[in-house]
């Protein structure tokens, strides 16, 4: 849709410029052609502003991942207890789970349980299994 609007507005601008040149060459300065060209330029401008505004609105659409909240920050800190190679995996996995929780209370409960129980136990399990894998 946006691509079509942009294409139309550029076409209108080009047509308007061409009409201005034709009008100047043939001396029809204040004729129907030049007034149509001005109208086309104004129209193209309006369409461009509209499509630009729409793009900006789309760019500002909220990211489903909650960012900068207390839960997010504390989870980020807590993840440092996990081995470095597991941090990104669990961060992404838990972000996906938290993104579908609809209420703030549910997200808080989920995150608290992760921080107080899951992360310490996971840190123990993952570090222990990494130590077992190491050659003696």
């Amino acid at each position: 849709m946006i691509r079509w609007v942009r294409w139309l507005s550029w076409s209108a601008l080009l047509l308007a410029a061409a009409a201005c040149i034709v009008a100047a060459l043939h001396g029809w300065a204040l004729s129907i052609v030049s007034s149509a060209a001005i109208a086309a330029m104004v129209g193209a401008g309006v369409v461009s502003v509209w499509s630009f505004g729409r793009q900006r609105r789309e760019a500002r659409m909220p990211d489903p991942r909650p960012r900068g909240t207390l839960c997010e920050v504390s989870l980020q800190l807590g993840l440092h207890l996990l081995p470095p190679d597991a941090r990104d995996r669990y961060k992404e996995e838990w972000d996906a789970e938290r993104a579908v929780l609809d209420s703030r209370w549910a997200r808080l409960k989920f995150t608290t349980s992760l921080l107080l129980v899951a992360i310490p136990r996971l840190a123990w399990t993952l570090r222990l299994s990494a130590r077992r894998r190491e050659p003696r």
Binding site: E97, L114, A118, L126
Partner: protein, 106 residues
């Protein structure tokens, strides 16, 4: 492979994963189905994954992009996991009978 203890949370998670065995679950879905907290579930899944009873994979990017959210991690029971779970269930079912027999003979 080390033998896992079939605790109640382990049994609940394996039960859900085994019904049916090929089905893939994401963490929150398993939390709701097993009524376990996220704090208990993820270490348990990590332990089962370490033992090779459970495998996990990232979801297809197309679906994640369509729903505008981060990628989910899907868990499923492996063939080893299914065999192991059934053998643990059989052992658990046999245990009281053995106890009863030994008690009677003593």
């Amino acid at each position: 492979m080390p033998i896992l203890r079939l605790t109640d949370p382990t049994s609940r998670v394996l039960n859900e994963l085994a019904s049916p065995p090929g089905r893939e679950w994401y963490g929150l879905e398993l939390c709701k189905a097993t009524k376990l907290s996220s704090g208990s579930l993820y270490p348990l899944l990590a332990r089962l994954e370490r033992e090779g009873w459970v495998s996990s994979r990232w979801e297809d990017p197309a679906r994640q992009e369509a729903e505008h959210r981060p990628r989910r991690r899907y868990y499923s029971l492996t063939a080893d996991g299914l065999v192991g779970f059934h053998s643990l269930l059989a052992r658990r079912a046999a245990a009281p009978a053995r106890l009863g027999t030994s008690g009677a003979s003593a």
